[in-house]
């Protein structure tokens, strides 16, 4: 079979059994893989109201048809689950090499359910899945676990695992792979921890069959030409990493600081991509087979590791009023070892800082207290003292202490590093993401509003943003299901991806088919959330962004004009006024299974 490996395995940790699932080709053609396949499994198998930390939740590890091929940025994989942080459907994806080895082990997907009676890890290979005792690994951090398992199982393999944060069910704990790569958002680590699953080791050298090698060669050549020509993928990201955005966003007045109280940061230069390159960069690297090379290997005077990426740099830095790049980098390294989502960690600590500063509740930490930062990350990971409250995320923490308005979240997920008061479409995207406050799942509208990809649009205007945001979200859903990197979309449109999919799978994917796959996935996720009780009331933003005008810079005086954009967005999508997809929309997308759901 070309593109897909044709193999899905299901592990039930409660019974300790492994079985092969039928590979229904029609499903994979409709949902591609990765996030799309995960959404399909979760829709089909999870009853409404399920406790995300119960054994019945699923972890759907999945790759896509392009994974492990010569296609640009295809060294990724995805994990889908119901989030313990948000209660929504969620997925996260990650680079490195785990996804490629997973596919070379002969799998398209691994569905994990149940709860092992004691800690275990899985070894996946072309021979199948083995469940092994992980008692000696429980309590070890991500780096230690990875080193031990590579040594024990296969030095050429790859490890995805959780750290102490996942073991202790921190609601924003991450699944980590290849040590420093994170499936960060929405608490996949806690779901893994709740199953007593410490790690998965992938091992294999199988090859992915390509339907049309000549065509693949030609389209890949063209795609790489575009990536090598685009200033963002050929210069900005390779030279400065994602932190290249710091100065750009700060100058535009959409770089939040001090828990989003401000929309610029007076010390932005201290944490910029340029500063990282000058002060702590050791070398540039990248995911398996990637030509962009945006990863930063860095070293401070006390520690070394990877990153920080733009979002981590911001959440652990300016959002907490901290501008010491060494401390930020070290906090980032520690998050990686503990297995914590940096955005939610920083966002939650920033919320606690504002709570303390305003005198609402003394969380023991104030803005700028950099010396306490790593200690607080440990408190969270081990649920020690105040860390036990913070481990529940900023929404629960702020609500518990009577000030929910200080939680900068959407649907309970902490917002990333773009203040939408100066980028209206991004505000709509935040409000409508299926996994909560995320800059990617709802559409990376910053690309159009600030970076001019493919054209610059008026960032302060709400007009037309409903339509733009929807198509970007759909395209993103398809990208996450192939599974390739979002950065590629700066240079490559749906035209190129359609041709690559066609060459790899032999199935004719026209560019508009790619968009329709994405729209189908986005609507299925929406229906999952509706089944869980989410509706228009949840498609909103923190009060601060809707009512408090941005205080600084070019965005000064603006708030997010959400309602107008939301109406247009629903109308564009074929949803009713409450944000529910109409029956004709579901039928058009081939989602008949949702009509009775």
């Amino acid at each position: 079979m070309a593109g897909w490996m044709g193999r899905i395995l299901r592990v039930d940790l409660t019974s300790g059994t492994v079985k092969e699932e039928p590979f229904v080709r029609e499903i994979w053609e409709k949902f591609l893989g990765g996030r799309g396949y995960g959404a399909k499994v979760l829709w089909d198998e999870l009853p409404a109201g399920l406790d995300p930390l119960s054994p019945d939740n699923r972890l759907v590890f999945a790759v896509g048809p392009l994974t492990g091929t010569t296609s640009a940025t295809s060294g990724r994989y995805s994990v889908s689950f119901k989030s313990p942080l948000t209660g929504t459907i969620s997925d996260a994806n990650s680079g490195g090499k785990f996804g490629v080895i997973f596919k070379k082990a002969g799998l398209d997907a691994l569905i994990v359910q149940g709860r092992a009676p004691k800690p275990v890890y899985l070894v996946i290979s072309p021979q199948g899945v083995e469940i092994k005792d992980a008692s000696d690994l429980w309590g070890k951090n991500v780096h230690e676990t990875t080193d031990i398992l590579l040594e024990r199982e296969d030095k050429r393999g790859s490890v995805a695992c959780i750290g102490p944060a996942g073991e202790n069910l921190v609601l924003f704990s991450a699944i980590m792979n290849d040590k420093d790569r994170a499936l960060a958002r929405a608490g996949g680590g806690a779901v893994m921890g709740s199953k007593n699953l410490k790690a998965i080791v992938a091992s294999g050298t199988l090859r992915v069959e390509i339907a049309d090698r000549d065509r693949m060669k030609f389209v890949t050549y063209e795609a790489n030409k575009w990536i090598n020509a685009h200033p963002i993928t050929s210069k900005g990201l390779p030279e400065f990493g994602t932190a290249m955005l710091v100065n750009l966003m700060n100058e535009a007045g959409i770089f939040p600081s001090y828990n989003y109280q401000y929309n610029q940061f007076e010390h932005a230069e201290d944490v910029s991509g340029e500063t990282i390159a000058e002060k702590i960069l050791v070398k540039k690297t990248g995911c398996w087979g990637c030509i962009i090379q945006c990863t930063r290997k860095t070293k401070t005077s006390r520690d070394e590791g990877e990153g920080p990426e733009y979002e981590s740099n911001w959440s652990l830095g300016p959002d907490c009023g901290i501008h010491d790049i060494e401390v930020i980098a070290e906090a980032n390294y520690e998050c990686n070892r503990l297995g914590i989502d940096t955005i939610s960690a920083g966002g939650t600590i920033a919320c606690a800082m504002e709570m303390t500063e305003r005198g609402y509740y003394d969380a023991g930490i104030r803005f700028g207290e950099k010396e306490k930062l790593i200690d607080y990350l440990h408190k969270i990971a081990y649920r020690d003292g105040i860390g036990d409250e913070l481990a529940e995320g900023s929404k629960r923490f702020a609500e518990k202490h009577g000030h929910p308005e200080l939680s900068m979240t959407v649907k309970g997920l902490e917002l990333p590093a773009y203040d939408p008061r100066g980028a209206q479409g991004q505000g709509l995207a935040y409000a409508t993401t299926n996994r909560g406050g995320c800059h990617l799942r709802g559409g990376f509208v910053i690309g159009r509003e600030l970076l001019g990809v493919p054209r610059m649009i008026d960032r302060f205007s709400p007009v037309g943003k409903g339509s733009h945001t929807a198509i970007l979200a759909d395209f993103g859903a398809a990208i996450d299901s192939m599974v390739v990197c979002r950065f590629s979309t700066f240079a490559l449109s749906e035209i190129v991806w359609g041709r690559l999919l066609t060459a790899v799978t032999g199935v004719q994917y026209e560019p508009e088919d790619v968009m329709e796959v994405g729209e189908r996935i986005f609507n299925l996720e929406r229906m999952f959330n509706i089944r869980e009780g989410f509706s228009r009331k949840d498609d909103t933003l923190p009060k601060r962004l809707l009512e408090e005008p941005a205080p600084l810079g070019p965005a000064k005086g603006h708030v997010v004009k959400l309602d107008q954009m939301l109406d247009e967005y629903y109308a564009f999508r074929g949803w009713d006024k409450n944000g529910v997809p109409k029956p004709e929309t579901l039928k058009r997308l081939g989602l008949e299974e949702c009509l009775d759901g």
């Binding site: 065509r215 030609f218 063209e222 030409k225 020509a229 159009r448 493919p454 054209r455 649009i457 008026d458 205007s461 007009v463 037309g464 409903g466 339509s467 733009h468 198509i471 759909d474 035209i495 359609g498 041709r499 026209e510 560019p511 508009e512 088919d513 968009m515 729209e519 107008q564 109406d567 247009e568 967005y569 629903y570 109308a571 564009f572 074929g574």
Partner: protein, 204 residues
């Protein structure tokens, strides 16, 4: 006339319309353009001059259904609507580029030979219709072709381009005419332009 809430888009219509006319992609009264916003379509008025658009020349109607605005809308409103239903485009621009139209009589498809044209478009398909203005056949065929390409030539008639913005559709339209002019000028020098085509672009 379109609602005042679409002021910024109406201003965009005037800007692009003027540019399209001034560079000669349309004659005084030819061509039309539209954008999709939510479940509404804004489209130029039937018989309007794209180079001199007024607010009253920009008509608002439904994405799914006709309403009062339809009687004023461009003759090709159904083609625009069909394109929106068949693709994820947010803007459609119909032009009558002279050189590209001339080339459409003698080619089955246009393969750019210049660097920029090759980089962006690689190939522009040409389709032919018995009746090439606002016909049912166009409603059926053009969305199918535009699922796969950003711009298509109608033999002896003109081009339909799509994009997420009017500016993007304008970009492809202008580029098509530049591509055609370069091919034409190379041929005018007595040189076979085909030798400069990259054969694999025919497969794009």
């Amino acid at each position: 006339m379109a609602s005042e809430k679409y002021r910024e888009l109406m201003d965009e219509f005037k800007k692009i319309g003027r540019a399209v006319f001034e560079i000669g992609l349309n004659n005084s009264h030819s061509g039309n353009m539209s954008v999709r916003v939510g479940d509404r379509i804004l489209i130029t008025r039937r018989g309007s001059m794209l180079g001199f658009l007024k607010d009253s020349d920009i008509i608002e109607t439904g994405y799914e259904h006709n309403d009062a605005g339809i009687s004023l809308a461009s003759t090709e409103v159904n083609v625009h609507r069909a394109i929106y239903h068949g693709t994820s485009a947010l803007a459609v621009l119909h032009t009558h580029p002279v050189t590209a139209t001339a080339l459409s009589f003698v080619e089955d498809e246009i393969v750019p030979i210049d660097v920029e044209g090759s980089y962006y478009l690689r190939k522009i398909p040409i389709v032919e219709f018995e009746f090439g203005t606002g016909s049912k056949e166009m409603e059926k065929v053009l969305p199918q072709v535009l699922k796969n390409y950003k711009i298509v030539m109608i033999k002896g008639h003109g081009a339909f381009a799509i994009g997420d913005f009017l500016e993007e559709a304008f970009h492809y339209s202008h580029m098509l005419e530049s591509i055609a002019q370069i091919i034409w000028r190379v041929r005018a020098m007595g040189v076979d332009s085909k030798q400069f085509e990259r054969p694999y672009f025919h497969q794009w």
